[in-house]
Amino acid sequence: MTLAARLQGRAWVDGMPLFAPVDLALAMGGWTCLLGPSGVGKSTMLRLVAGLDTGVSFQGTITRNLPVALMAQDPGLIPWLDVTENVTLGARLRGTLSPSFMSKYPGGGPQGPGAEPPTANPASRAAALIEAVGLTDRAHHRPDSLSGGQRQRVALARTLFEDRPLVLLDEPFSALDARTRAQMQDLSARLLANRTVLLVTHDPAEAARLGDRILLLREEGLTEWPAPPPRPTGAARPYDAPEVLALQADLMRGMMA
């Protein structure tokens, strides 16, 4: 079976080992949670898979068979662009936005017979995604007038706009308060249901809610956690279910060990 991505190797920072030799293989589909404390190289692994600069010396091989989208703790919103323009940033940066886009959005482009199918039109796609993350009334707001949770919603809509089969999430909810975090987990589980997701997190509760597969990264290396019970399709596990809380406690023990 083809893997979505695979990272085999080890890394050093300034001559000091960052992580021991690991073999991180991402199967197609589902959420893989890479759980571990800060400073063990989780984000570095994700950045290596994404093909980004890491500032570490990496020795090994990285293969990736799917196009990728990225969402990180810093939502990376562009302050001078409004929500719609931020969601369509990828199209702007690839030069695939029509020059008349700015005057057209968010009307959804031409309507009626002969109109382009909605999926082909960036304006209507952006409008639909902004609606999906519940920010329709904010479509023309700039990031500085949004709350932290709303900014991550914009980042999620932007990630979905990219429409890539592999999505890399680098602690995307870490800076949010507990309630907003839980809501974002629910929303992300729903909207990213059909994609292969690698979620880097230091939060055992998050891994317990979202992981179809949980990998524990510690200084000693990468260990695969026993497969958790199946997750409802397109949803996170309930945050208050006893088995989820038990899994969270187990993961915490694993991290402390």
Binding site: R47, A50, G51, L52, V68, A69, L70, A72, D74, P75, G76, I78, P79, W80, L89, G90, R92, L93, R94, G95, R142, E162, L168
Partner: protein, 243 residues
């Protein structure tokens, strides 16, 4: 506004007081009234020369800003080019413009060209330095996204790095607007019959110190207004882009 007015009045009073107390002759330090009189009597000549200087300043500032910004963008694209150009640019700033003025006059003649060249030399550096600094400060999160999204270097420059660096560019431009008249005046000073600098040199040679002061006053006011206009224009433009 009130404090500015009070400040001006205080300076004028001290100035006049100094003349009364020390009994300074007018060719050393003319009284405020004498300067005002020289300003009024020579208003046509001063206005004409101020016009030349202003033209040189505006042209030199515009050209210098464009050159400075273009240099910054080019250097922003290439670390290698930055490595080559940065020491050259820094070196260019160690040469006193005053020493260059006679050479530029020799090369470019007695017309406006050497004055504009002097202004360009003074203007381009703060613009390039500030803008380049800004181009290197795009938030890493945005650059990471752009890379994963498959953006070309040119589009990253156009859509992310340049807009993010506009406040830095504005800082450089504001600074350059204040310095620009220095270049023009030094150029006029060294070689030229027109402009406030030339007027000052000639008046100084004929001991018409009151006229020197009048021209200086006009130059200062002109510089303040020019710098203010540039600053206001930049704020307006940036606000439209929401930077």
């Amino acid at each position: 506004m009130k404090t500015v007015l009070a400040l001006i009045l205080t300076v004028l009073a001290l100035w006049q007081g100094l003349i009364w107390l020390a009994g300074m002759p007018p060719f050393l330090l003319p009284a405020p009234a004498a300067v005002a009189e020289a300003l009024w009597l020579n208003r046509i000549e001063i206005a004409r020369n101020a016009g030349f200087t202003l033209t040189e300043v505006v042209l030199g500032f515009t050209l210098g800003s464009v050159i400075g910004a273009a240099l910054a963008v080019a250097m922003g694209f290439s670390a290698r080019l930055t490595g080559i150009l940065r020491p050259i640019l820094t070196f260019s700033q160690t040469i006193p413009v005053f020493a260059l003025a006679p050479i530029l006059t020799l090369w470019l003649g007695f017309g406006m060209a050497p004055k504009i060249a002097m202004t360009v030399l003074i203007v381009f550096f703060p613009v390039a330095a500030a803008f380049l600094d800004g181009l290197g400060r795009t938030p890493q999160a945005a650059l990471d996204l752009a890379q994963v999204m498959g953006a070309s270097r040119g589009r990253i420059m156009r859509h992310l790095r340049i807009p993010a660096a506009l406040p830095h560019l504005a800082t450089g431009l504001r600074l350059a607007a204040v310095y620009a008249p220095i270049g023009a005046v030094i150029g006029e000073w060294v070689g030229g019959a027109r402009g406030l600098g030339a007027l000052m040199i000639h008046a100084n040679g004929r001991m018409k110190t009151d006229l020197v002061f009048a021209a200086l006053l006009v130059l200062s006011v002109m510089t303040v207004i020019f710098a203010r206009l540039v600053s206001v224009a930049l704020s307006r433009i940036w606000r439209r882009y929401g930077v």
